[in-house]
């Protein structure tokens, strides 16, 4: 949490003024019992009407000054808190954008979004309340005690005792409560996740007639939650009656002692009333303080979570190489990859090079490392051993911007952003001409798609919801093509296209006038069989490199993949089974 305090720096003035004005307000409140005591002793007992009127005026005046002080304090507190949240959000967003792919995988999207939204909101609220109350409440509590001592030392001793005992009870209960609330939270998560799970799997649940079992399971979780809620609620409820009993017992004691003092002439009746009033003030403030601490506790937890995100640093450092010319577009040199959090190698000793303008097909089974391999080229991930070169230069020596302008990737999952088709495509290149858009769209076989939405100014809803999967895929290909990357990577990005469109797309890319080096990752033999070079992966290792015809002769895995899609299945199955056994 400490590190987040820098975001209060620009609001230093507000952070000092807000609590100060709050204290001012509180100190005026502390005068009220004295005014009343004076009213009773001088005005009523002495029979001076002027004192009564004076007291009235004084009370209203104290209220008014309190009002002004409080409003000022609220303003400064609100300003500091809002500024804090604004700056924090900015830095957090900036920080998240700096993280690399390995870190993004690790944190997870939903976590990042929660940190940015609800956690920051809670923090804003926490800062606001803290600035308002953290000085005020203790000030009133101790102020009341000191005032009591100025009135009568003997009876004021009870104040000291009651404040200590009350603090123990209030904070003790709260400590228990915090733990129980955590328990409740966990049980609630169970209930939520079993609801979500059963909604997601509704077809499977019904197909297997599991409705009864699911309901049974939910009811169990639900019952456990109810019990946890009851336990936590009952303990939390104790706070009110307990503090109430203690304060009132103290008041009774106060009056009892006061009676003797008064009869001995050491204390006036008005002073007894004042002591009584101070005791009541302490109760109100202690409860406020307890609530504040619960709130601060929550905010602190959020703060720590946010801080832990800040602590995650991008593991990849960028370089800044001059770009040399080299006939070799991409070269892998004994490259291996182990994902963080994983113990096994996803890629092992990848070794091959690709000349400029070549088309490379990458094929292999599920989980064989196809995507991982091409992700090393734009440095989405760093090779854990060995090196990857683009244009003869180690990818680590480029700046991210240099490298990623050079390498255009169409990802497996096609994503569009809210805006227009044009605003989406502009990501790849700003200031493109009309002709550039048309060309990129037509090459991506998306002309129909764009026309269907009224051209390149056609609207795109959040996450591209108003387009089908295939349409999104084509538009995201168009986006990448607009940037005219020297190296174009299609990462299984035609999976939602039918074979005919896929074919036309490949043809268009082949005919691009700037002759990019193309990587096509696919599970379909048809998509890659005519590539200049086919890389066959199996379990992260290259088991064959060459042209289609060669591989058919020499590479068993390739044969099997090919035949599985084209030939009689039984014969290969028999072979494969033999191999398995």
């Amino acid at each position: 949490m400490k590190k987040l305090l820098v975001y209060l720096k620009s609001s230093k003035k507000e952070c000092i003024l807000a609590p100060l004005f709050k204290m001012l307000e509180a100190s005026f409140e502390l005068f009220i019992p004295l005014v009343i005591a004076n009213l009773i002793d001088k005005g009523l007992k002495g029979g001076q009407t002027s004192v009564i009127v004076q007291s009235f005026g004084l009370l209203v005046l104290l209220g008014l000054i309190g009002l002004v002080a409080a409003v000022t304090a609220q303003y400064f507190a609100a300003k500091a808190a809002v500024n804090f949240a604004t700056e924090l959000r900015h830095s957090l967003f900036e920080h998240l954008l700096k993280l690399g792919f390995p870190e993004i995988d690790n944190i997870g999207t939903s976590t990042m979004i929660t940190r940015m939204t609800s956690d920051v909101n809670q923090l804003q609220n926490g800062v606001n309340m803290f600035l308002r109350l953290f000085l005020r409440s203790p000030f009133v509590v101790f102020g009341a005690m000191i005032m009591a001592f100025t009135i009568d030392v003997k009876s004021a001793a009870i104040f000291l005792i009651i404040i200590i005992v009350l603090s123990i009870v209030v904070f003790g209960l709260m400590a228990i409560n915090v733990r129980q609330v955590k328990n409740v939270q966990k049980k609630l998560e169970n209930v939520t996740s079993s609801t979500r799970e059963s909604l997601k799997g509704v077809r499977v649940i019904r197909a297997f007639c599991l409705e009864q079992e699911e309901t049974q399971e939910f009811n169990n979780d639900n019952n456990l939650l109810m019990k946890a809620l009851n336990r936590a609620g009952n303990i939390a409820a104790l706070m009110n009656p307990l503090t109430y009993v203690m304060i009132n017992m103290a008041i009774i004691y106060l009056i009892f002692v006061g009676t003797n003092q008064v009869s001995e002439g050491l204390l006036t009746q008005g002073q007894v009333v004042a002591l009584y009033n101070y005791m009541s003030q302490i109760l109100v403030e202690l409860i406020k303080l307890a609530n504040l601490i619960v709130l601060i506790n929550k905010a602190l937890a959020c703060g720590n979570r946010v801080e832990s995100v800040f602590e995650i640093e991008a593991s990849q450092k960028e370089g800044s190489a001059e770009v040399p010319r080299n006939e070799e577009a991409v070269r892998f040199e004994h490259a291996s990859l182990v994902y963080p959090e994983s113990s096994e190698e996803t890629l092992t000793d990848i070794n091959f090079s690709v000349a400029k303008g070549e088309t490379v097909g990458i094929i292999g089974g599920t989980g064989s490392g196809k995507s991982s391999l091409v992700h090393l080229i734009p440095r989405f991930y760093d090779a854990t051993a060995g090196n990857v070169y683009v244009d003869g230069v180690n990818v680590n020596e480029y700046s991210f911007e240099q490298l990623r302008k050079k390498v255009g990737v169409v990802m497996q999952k096609a994503v569009l952003f809210k805006g227009t088709i044009k605003s989406n495509m502009d990501w790849a290149m700003e200031n493109a001409t009309e002709a550039d858009y048309t060309e990129a769209i037509s090459n991506a076989q998306a002309t129909e798609v764009a026309e269907g939405k009224g051209g390149i100014d056609g609207e795109v809803e959040q996450a591209g919801k108003n387009y089908s999967g295939g349409q999104r895929q084509r538009l995201s290909i168009a986006r990448t093509l607009l940037g005219k990357p020297q190296i174009l990577i299609l990462d299984d990005s035609s999976s939602a296209l039918d074979y005919l469109t896929d074919y036309n797309l490949r043809k268009a890319i082949k005919e691009l006038d700037y002759k990019p080096t193309v990587f096509i990752v696919s599970q379909r033999s048809a998509s890659i069989m005519h590539a200049d070079k086919i890389v066959v992966l199996d379990d992260g290792k290259i088991v064959g490199i060459g042209k289609h015809e060669e591989l058919l002769k020499t590479c068993q895995v390739y044969q099997e993949i090919y035949e599985s899609q084209y030939c009689d299945q039984n014969s290969i199955a028999e072979n494969a089974e033999k191999e398995v056994r």
Binding site: A78, T109, S263
Partner: protein
Amino acid sequence: MKNFGRILKYLKRNIWLMILAMIFAVISAVSALFIPFFIGDAIDGIAALVSEDMAMSAESVSLGMQGILIDLLVTACLVIESAISLQLMSVINNKVTYKVVRDIRSEAFAKVQTLPLGYLDRHPSGEVVSKIITDVEQFADGLLLGFSQFFTSVITIVGTLVLMLTINVRVALLVLVLTPMSFFVAKFISKHTYDMFKVQSQTRAQQTALIDEIIGNEKVVKSFCHEQNALEQFDEINERLRVCSLKAVFYSSLTNPCTRFVNAVVYAVVALTGGFAVLSGGLSIGMLSTLLCYANQYTKPFNEITGVITELQNAFACADRIFEFLDEKIEKDTRVLEDETVAGKVEGLVEMKDVAFSYVADKPLIENLNLKVLPGQNVAIVGPTGCGKTTLINLLMRFYDVTAGSISIDGTEIRDMSRHELRSRFGMVLQETWIKEGTVLDNILIGKKDATREEAIAAAKEVHAHNFIKRLPQGYDTVLEEDGGGLSVGQKQLLCIARVMLMQPSMLILDEATSNIDTRTEILISRAFNKLMENRTSFVVAHRLSTIKNADIILVMKDGHIIEQGNHESLLAKGGFYKELYMSQYQAT
């Protein structure tokens, strides 16, 4: 408010507890009210001790002391009584509230299991979850806790008023007139801050949408080096949010100081008028202190009621949403055949006659569909996305009901069977995998609840899932998270297939079941399936044409119609759409 009657229905089951809670609330509030009264009396006692000069006899002093002691003892009893009642009331309230929450949640969950899929497909699951979790909680919290607070507040207000009236009518009336001012001040402020909050929440929603989009697709953002533009876009909204948040936060925080000021004025007025009343002899000093104490307390329940009213409004809004959900029409089995146990001898003759179906009333999807599948035939369904392949499966499983025409199995209309009966005849594997929180074994046993561990392992071996399961940390007893956590999509799909293998269903439905599995493994699995499917009717949806070449019937669908039908050779010979689709995978640049 229209659901008020229904809300009462939920409370009715707990009516005695609620009455008890109310009794405790009354005891607690009334006892608390009398405390300042007795303390005031004790203070008056103190005054009496002093005022009767030094001439007071020792006897009267001890009598006075006795009076004070009695006052204090009574106060102590009241304090304890009030505290105990308060705690009992809270405990009962908690019990009732959480029980109602549990009951409504259980009911809502059971509802989910019986709702037509049409409803669940139309409503994002997040929305339903938020109804069952958040809405129910806010409803119960707002209504029950709000109600008890409301009740206590009203008792306190009335009680205070009555007690003040008995002490001094003039002062009491003044307080009665002045106090509602704080109520109006609060209302005035909240009315004027409403718009600011609206702007704030709109701006926040915009920002969240942007965060969602950019952070959710951060990999794409990074691949285009779009970070700086994204940050600028973010900052623009962030700045707007700063301005409107400051307004909303500041103005709404005025409520407290303003109502406190009103309270201070009321307090001063009581001191003034009470002071004069004391001088004129109509009031004792102790009772003035009691009145001051009441004046201070009197405004508190008003503020609480203001808060409670907003909470109640919210609770009713939540109740509306919950009841709307609970009122959704559910699926019912119209007629259940008397003797469903004949299920064992399913032949597998499936007939569709003039079937029509649409998801949206005026947009027909499937029209005039006719199909006859003989027992043991293998049907493959192909066609472009959105042509109705999956819809056909939805109709077969009665996830949706046909809008016209009929589907029958072995001569029985499927609408005449119970859904459980119908569905238990089919084994189904979907493209979207579903893994339950639990062990690998639990997940396989979904196929057949009473199967043994050995049977499950055998099924896993048959679909080639055994190898990867074996390598998991605890093998078959590895606990999988919701969504299957560490497993790859292909591995999850293998588990789903193992379920069906274990189930040994009478008929089989595979909806893109092997799309995430590489072709080699797929062949191994389909061999296992082939063995399973010998002489059993099966339906296979696939976009990989190579996997369906051996089907007995290939249905080529387009725009909800079956445009071609036949086996691989006959369709190729026909030279239509199927041929075009099929040949495109052989063409290359």
